[in-house]
């Protein structure tokens, strides 16, 4: 056997071992998934756990099917998804604008520094009740809740990325007599795009928290409302079903943002 064919053979073996490894990973992922739901179902049937509290996959599935067929679940889904998307877009945009203002004026950023630290440390959901009193028990409060939870951390992360842009890029622009605005537009903002997009990924998760908590506090519609309603009437099948839908949609949104990130970072 020549060296060449030997290397070919080894490469084939290597590729095969990679595929095999991947298959095993998938296998165990599916095993975990099935075990979880099967155990849950069995435990519930045999009353190892209280079926009234923990419900069971079959009951959740029945309820979900019923709600999809009569269409009653969709308004709840759209409300929550809409609020979350709006919340996280507002949070990210506002955070980026705030970061730009801080970058613009180093003096202002020094003044505001301790306030940012305090606001960042404060659990944002704690001001939920105040928001609702101030803005009224409407969708606005919930969207604001979804935005406010991510705005400060976005400001801090994006501002840091603005400041960390290689000063030599600015030097290049300044030698052409660029104004501060031109520096921002040509160098600071585009080089921070990857950071902004990666904060989007964090903010999707945060906005779900804000919106669901907002809906807990006040709402007539939405997945958070269904959870709190199910809790009040002791219908935990409804709670589980809503939780299940939230997991699905949160994952979809996260994956979407991840996809956008890949596109943007590749071009950068």
């Amino acid at each position: 056997m020549s060296k060449q064919t030997m290397i070919e053979q080894l490469h084939r073996d290597y590729k095969r071992s990679l595929t095999r490894n991947k298959r095993w990973v998938h296998f165990f992922q599916i095993i975990i998934f099935l075990t979880f739901f099967v155990l849950w179902e069995i435990a519930s049937r045999f009353h190892w756990i209280d079926p009234l509290i923990f419900s069971s996959p079959s009951k959740v599935w029945e309820l979900l099917k019923e709600n999809i067929l009569d269409g009653s679940i969709f308004p709840h889904i759209w409300t929550t998804v809409f609020e979350t998307i709006l919340g996280f877009i507002i949070g990210t945009v506002a955070g980026t604008i705030l970061a730009a203002i801080l970058w613009w004026s180093p003096f202002l950023s020094k003044i505001l520094d301790p306030y940012l630290v305090v606001l960042n440390a404060m659990p944002k959901v704690a001001i939920g009740p105040i928001l609702i009193v101030a803005l009224g028990p409407t969708m606005t409060s919930i969207v604001v809740m979804g935005a406010i939870i991510s705005v400060i951390i976005t400001t801090i992360v994006v501002y840091t990325s603005f400041r960390d842009v290689d000063q030599n890029y600015l030097k290049v622009l300044q030698t052409f007599g660029a104004t501060r605005w031109q520096c921002f537009k040509e160098a600071i903002l585009p080089s921070s795009f990857p950071t902004i997009v990666s904060t989007l990924k964090v903010n999707v998760g945060l906005s779900w928290v804000g919106v669901v908590v907002g809906e807990f506090l006040v709402s007539k519609q939405g997945l958070g409302y269904l959870i709190i309603y199910g809790f009040q009437v002791f219908n935990f099948t409804l709670v589980m079903q809503s939780l299940f839908i939230i997991v699905i949609f949160a994952t979809i949104m996260y994956k979407l943002v991840e996809y956008i990130e890949k596109k943007i970072v590749k071009n950068g």
């Binding site: 290049v172 031109q182 080089s191």
Partner: protein
């Protein structure tokens, strides 16, 4: 009056803990069309002096006159080329070389065409739509040179523009930069710590002392060397004489520093 006059420039950097004097009493004058090198150890304030000449920073004391006008901020007469190319990775080559024209509001069909022609003269055809990451280090530095020349500055400041390149690319680029600048009759100041590069490229060499930096000695490169392109200058018989002379001077400088 000379093209560029540097008059008693002293510059200090201030911080809470300390004050660092980077330059002290630097005076020199440069005629139009000359190629000058600032040679000296790292940290001798060469880059500071370039920044002062370009108007990026204002000297603590003294001033710079360019064509009899006091330099008070960046201006169209001066182009600056940095140690690395610093091409914007998210812009295409075309957008990168047009940036100076765009910022100075001179971007039109004619200037665009001129810049593209210059790019092609540098041996870079069909790269306008590519991104910097697709180009090699030498190609990128050539693009950076085109970007600097696009706004047609009279004075070029070159801050160790070849130091990040491999030796072969560096020699080739030295020739290219040298002949391009001679062709367009630009005045140029090259900052370097490479003695050979300074001799091969320039008409005059200012040797700087270490911090605080000031002109220690001026070397005039012999006419025979000045006429040659850098690659040939390096193999000229007079090259090693002046190299030895500067080398000795630098050694002595270091010894006085150590004492």
């Amino acid at each position: 009056m000379s093209f560029l006059e540097i008059q008693d420039v002293t510059h200090s950097y201030f911080s809470k803990q300390s004050k660092t004097t980077a330059l002290i009493d630097v005076s020199l004058s440069i005629q139009e069309g000359e190629f000058i090198s600032f040679l000296g150890p790292s940290g001798c304030g060469k880059t500071t002096l370039l920044s002062i000449i370009s108007g990026l920073i204002e000297p603590t004391i003294g001033h710079v006159l360019l064509e009899n006008e006091k330099v008070t901020g960046t201006n169209k007469k001066t182009g600056y080329m940095l140690q690395q190319d610093y091409l914007f990775p998210w812009k295409t080559i075309e957008e990168n070389i047009f940036i100076g024209l765009k910022l100075t509001k001179q971007l039109n069909e004619k200037t665009k065409q001129n810049t593209i022609t210059l790019l092609e003269k540098m041996g870079l055809k069909n790269v306008s739509k590519q991104f910097p990451s697709q180009l090699s280090g030498g190609m990128r530095q050539r693009v950076a040179l085109v970007r600097t020349l696009a706004t047609n500055p009279k004075l070029l400041l070159l801050d160790e523009p070849f130091s990040a390149l491999d030796f072969q690319t560096k020699l080739k680029l030295e020739d290219l930069v040298f002949s391009t600048l001679k062709q367009f009759q630009k005045t140029a100041i090259l900052v370097t710590h490479d003695i050979g590069e300074a001799i091969a490229m320039s008409d005059r060499i200012y040797l700087f002392t270490n911090r605080p930096g000031t002109v220690h000695r001026v070397f005039h490169v012999p006419d025979e060397l000045r006429r040659e392109i850098p690659f040939h200058a390096r193999s000229h018989e007079q090259y090693s004489d002046i190299f030895q002379e500067i080398w000795k001077e630098l050694e002595e400088l270091e010894q006085t520093n150590d004492d």
